[in-house]
């Protein structure tokens, strides 16, 4: 990836020279294989989307097929978590749920849990996004009531509380930052500089996944010229690489480009249930 500089040796006035000498931002276009090659075993990887909506399944499939191991996955999970569990890539999962939405229970994830194959940190959904937000803001925790006195704290003794320093003195849960080594998201449009536009009704927490990560990669239905991009949801300063990957959400929904392919999702579930293989 390199910066391209436009210049004209004939330009005379300083104003014109400045306009012609403005360097273009970096070209962050990559392939799926490029992205996978930048990931390492043992990494903490965040995956955007939510359940069976706008999941970067093309990238997930490539990770599942790679020789990466011992990943800690942070996700509002769906088939992304299921496929990675089935491929034996998951050492630990940080989650609030794993669901295929129109099919409530994800079969590969169920198998992995019921076989005791993965460690987990199970959080209230709101706690998870606060952890990403704290990481993005480079602060150690964010206070919340969510999760207190529940099975979350029963099963995660590492979570601590904090007392308000002000007169109220209220005790709250200190949701620790969830920093990520890498994040992957799927968007509708991106430009080559890494600006991304999510055109559907809900960006979920993709921005937080990107901001909490050292490196963030977006697959996009289309890579377009900057002037054609429309409202930017993920500014390029939070995106390390973009991949043109039409259909990159697999059978999950990616509105307005496509809705969930319910037939394909049912086929995935059927195939998992028919398989007698244990999770690796």
């Amino acid at each position: 990836m390199s910066a391209a500089v436009a210049s004209s040796p004939e330009s005379a006035s300083p104003a014109l020279a400045a306009a012609e000498l403005v360097p273009l931002p970096l070209d962050k276009r990559m392939t799926i294989d490029d992205v996978v090659s930048e990931l390492s075993s043992g990494m903490t990887l965040g995956i955007g989307g939510w359940g069976s909506r706008r999941k970067p399944l093309a990238l997930v499939d490539a990770i599942a097929a790679s020789d990466l191991t011992d990943l800690t996955i942070v996700s509002y999970g769906g088939a992304d978590v299921g496929k990675l569990c089935a491929a034996g890539k998951v050492k630990k999962l940080v989650f609030g749920f794993v669901s295929l939405d129109s099919i409530p229970l994800e079969p590969n994830f169920r198998k992995a849990r019921q076989q005791g194959a993965i460690d987990v940190l199970e959080l209230d959904e709101g706690m998870l996004w606060l952890g990403l937000q704290a990481a993005a803001w480079r602060i150690p925790f964010l206070p919340t009531r969510a999760g207190m006195a529940s099975g979350v704290t029963d099963n995660a003794p590492e979570l601590r509380t904090v007392k308000s320093p002000y007169d109220d003195g209220e005790e709250l849960l200190a949701m620790p930052a969830l920093p990520l080594d890498a994040a992957i998201v799927h968007v509708n449009d991106a430009d080559q500089a890494g600006n991304c536009a999510i055109l559907g009704p809900d960006p979920f927490f993709d921005d937080l996944f990107c901001m909490a990560a050292k490196r963030a990669y977006a697959t996009a239905e289309r890579i377009v010229a900057t002037e054609d991009l429309g409202a930017v949801t993920l500014p390029r300063l939070m995106v390390s690489g973009v991949v043109e990957a039409p259909g990159g959400a697999g059978f999950t929904s990616c509105p307005p480009d496509y809705e969930r392919d319910e037939d394909a999702q049912r086929a995935y579930v059927k195939q998992v249930k028919a398989s007698k293989q244990h999770v690796i």
């Binding site: 609030g96 009531r145 029963d154 927490f205």
Partner: protein
């Protein structure tokens, strides 16, 4: 349009599903300008009926169109009433939708805690159980996703927003106002006996000797039920 929902008795005998729907609607009708978040077919129908003829101030998701970021704002503001399902519930209203068996290696993995911990500690929460059984109503849940009255009591000040409204099942309507915050029958649907409830509940549930029968929906309410559920999807949850 008639605005007093309790003023007429129904001409047609309502179904059990109709009783369940109206019991859920009555849960919502107590609210004001809050987001109603029903999580299953009968609660969704109930929310629409409640808004149509019982409490027009209710905010339903089709009006609000909130991205999830905004939903959490509303949750933490407390202006919401969620009606969740439950794989397990105990006598204090501790709910489990996460997993059954030891957390490290569950016998049955379900969804995960989802937003239940944050919901129950922040705003009004009730539960809808379409098939009341002792597999659901258990002495102790494997994993607490929604916190109950006992756990809320340990929190002191931090528990001040817990507002467990109760449970509606295919057998009746219940609250958690029994002695010590335990589940108590508010009404039993027509044809349901106290014995049937006890036989299908895995803990002692308080049922007063003179427990009322669930009030039937009015003609107006039945009209709205039929309007919003012409296809009869409520019968897939509660047959007959």
């Amino acid at each position: 349009m008639e605005n007093n929902p309790e003023s007429t008795a129904p001409a047609v005998q309502p179904s059990r599903a109709d009783f369940c729907t109206i019991a859920c609607a009555r849960m919502f009708a107590r609210d004001g300008e809050v987001l109603i978040s029903p999580m299953a077919a009968i609660p969704r129908l109930a929310a629409r009926v409640a808004k149509a003829c019982m409490q027009p101030s209710l905010v339903l998701s089709e009006e609000a169109s909130l991205p999830y970021r905004r939903v959490f704002d509303v949750v933490w503001m407390g202006r919401r009433h969620v009606m969740m399902g439950a794989s397990q519930v105990d006598r204090f209203g501790n709910q489990n939708i996460s997993c059954i068996g030891p957390h490290g290696q569950p016998k049955v993995q379900l969804l995960g805690v989802r937003g239940a911990p944050g919901n129950t500690i922040n705003h009004a929460t009730s539960y809808w159980v379409p098939r009341h059984s002792s597999r659901v109503f258990v002495p102790a849940v494997s994993m607490v996703s929604g916190i109950g009255t006992d756990r809320a009591a340990t929190l002191g000040k931090s528990g001040r927003f817990v507002d467990l409204r109760g449970v509606v099942s295919n057998l009746g309507a219940f609250d958690f106002a029994g002695e010590g915050g335990v589940m108590r029958a508010v009404s039993l649907h027509p044809g349901v006996t106290a014995e049937e409830v006890r036989d299908n509940t895995g803990f002692d549930v308080e049922i007063a000797a003179d427990v009322p029968t669930t009030e039937p929906p009015t003609d107006l309410q039945l009209t709205w039920i039929a309007h919003f559920d012409a296809a009869g999807s409520r019968y897939t949850q509660v047959p007959g």
